[in-house]
Symmetry: none
Subunit: 211 residues, 4 copies
DNA sequence: TATGAATGAGAATTCATTCAT
DNA sequence: GATGAATGAATTCTCATTCAT
């Protein structure tokens, strides 16, 4: 165990990253409630209390993780090829659906943001997160506005918010208990089944076409 | 204490209704986790154990409450005037947004359905709920299909599912902590504010127009 | 369901027997705590409250069951061939071990008698049970005394009490959790394994030889 | 509240011992079920949760208490004077009966071992307990084998197991409810009375004589 | 900075028993 | 005699967070 003390900013940042990485790994196979601060610390090679030197609460830690994941996602969106065309709505919708499908952790964290994370983190901590989020949504949103003539300025950000809502809502609907899933196979109920990615894409595409 | 016993089916139904009503009242001002079975029973004038004669679990009780609320909502939708016209998409969207705005309990229960309720209730109890839900969505969905030429058969049900996702997602986004709400007033962040009803309406209208 | 009322002593006795039989059947596969009065009543085709017309408590019901089982066991012992001989101790020990092996319900009930049953039944109810028990132990005990010269008058009853203690103690020791049973296979621990019937027989035989 | 923290192994052992001592004290006048973890912690001057830093479950705590009591008992047996003689069986029996009479807590814990403790403790925790038990039974058992020619190698351990069964069985039989105890004074029933220590001694002595 | 022992709140559920009808 | 709705007591264990060293 690193009895060594992170003195310089660099090694402190390394500790922080180790904690985030550990949390991310554990969150892949367990729910937010199941992942404990003790496990995260241990997986990062630190003592329980040490985690609290870097993150004020468990929720703050996951907020940082979400910020990291979002940053990476926006990076991808910022470089994605976008060209004005008559099927631009579908292009954009597919871009969202595909890039998010590859990021299940991000999707699950987005489902935690409002109900779990924001409710247990001080406003001072959320503020920079929100500011950065607004910045990047504005930046990438502008690129999207550029290829979709029906979007007015500011609608790019709004698209992100609507997509967020769909991601969260559809995410919940597709997490079905196995024994219930069996029942949903009945012909009367099979219409209630929701496939996350195709549904997200279809919703976004329709929404953009009709914007 | 009411040593009186609900003997006939009628008075038993009254007890059941009293419990649902008590739960509904408590749920208005508290979260699902905060409302306890003890409180519900007491509010209904019954002993703690009595609630379990009518509902196998806390989740089963709230599932029944949701079923009741949904039934009432579908009743309203089934009688709402719907006429084919070029702004039918907006009419339908407005109908959803308005009727749901008046039913905050229903909206919050919908947010509980997949993550909390269905995960803790036996499949046998969910099955009739789902069947009835499918039935009514089919019934009202058909009415909606009739006024929206772009909807194919079955799209009515799909519309309900997509609306459900939006309701849940937007519902979470609009539950903002007061201190955070203050910060969202800043000019850089005000775009992130989500007003539930107008947003739901706009999303649904756009989606239907572009269906 | 028998809405018919047991008026005469005969049909009342039939009800009583039905309850005992139901309890016995359920107790074969479940523990005392797991068997509920509701289950017993239902299995006997009666309502829950009706069981309390025949037995004042759950423990009283099981005391009656034990009395029944004991009576049958004593009947067998009373007719078992017993002949004085130099290996009479082993004969008697074998008789106990074999007849009890065939009566697992009796063995389990004996383990319940002191800790569970007698602690929750009024003394007035235990008295006739004890009197009858003393009577039969005296009766069969005398037969045993007759073939074992080392036994003085009264030692037959004492033998029963000691056998009871062994039955209970060995009974507990042979109920080992499956995962623990695996560990007991180790060479260092295999000596700790106890086989109920052979051990009971060996203990009783040695005890009688050395009486 | 003792915000003081047991830092070194020594003070941690002291905390452990304090918990065991507290549990032992409470168990003297209450049953296992009546003694709560909260009471134990409080009696040890600790918070409820702290007990779980030292023992994974309530049963694990009582298993440790039993181990401690057994260790002390075996220490006494290991140093008890044992000499071969024609009344060695009675000597050994008396040794068991007397030393156990002085240890009512040990006797009651032995009655808990199979039914309550082992059923609720992980096999990993029971294993070292069993191994140590086998070791000490072997050690003291060998001493006993040395003074009793009728015992073959391994019979010492077997003696302990049989004694355990008797201890448990007789222990239950001598825990009679006061009101029942009055009835047992009747001349027809006084034969059913069991005095724990003399009876244990007599049983063991006879068993050893007839081994 | 790092540690890790100490803290303490928090709620669903079962089932023997009763008693009004 | 039969019913069955109503009663209500009772307790473990987890884990985020703190803070003395």
């Amino acid at each position: 165990m690193p009895r060594t003390r992170a003195r310089d900013a660099e090694s402190k940042e390394a500790r922080r990253a180790a904690l985030l990485s550990a949390a991310s790994g554990l969150f892949e196979t367990q729910s937010f409630a199941q992942v404990t601060m003790g496990e995260i610390s241990a997986a990062a090679g630190l003592a329980k209390g040490t985690a609290y030197l870097y993150f004020t609460t468990k929720e703050a830690l996951f907020l940082a993780l979400l910020a990291q994941e979002l940053e990476a996602w926006f990076d991808v969106l910022a470089e994605a090829p976008l060209r004005p065309s008559k099927d631009a709505p579908d292009q954009v919708a597919a871009l969202f659906a595909e890039t998010l499908s590859e990021r299940p952790t991000l999707v699950r964290l987005l489902g935690l943001l409002h109900l779990t994370i924001e409710q247990n983190v001080s406003a001072e901590l959320v503020l920079p997160f929100k500011l950065r989020l607004a910045e990047r949504m504005g930046e990438v949103g502008a690129r999207i506005e550029a290829v979709l003539p029906q979007l007015s300025p500011g609608d790019g950000v709004r698209l992100f918010l609507r997509a967020h809502a769909l991601v969260v809502g559809l995410g919940q609907m597709s997490q079905v208990k196995p024994d219930l899933d069996v029942l949903l196979a009945k012909p009367e109920l099979c219409h209630l089944k929701v496939q996350w990615a195709p549904e997200l894409r279809a919703c976004l595409a329709a929404m953009l076409r009709g914007w």
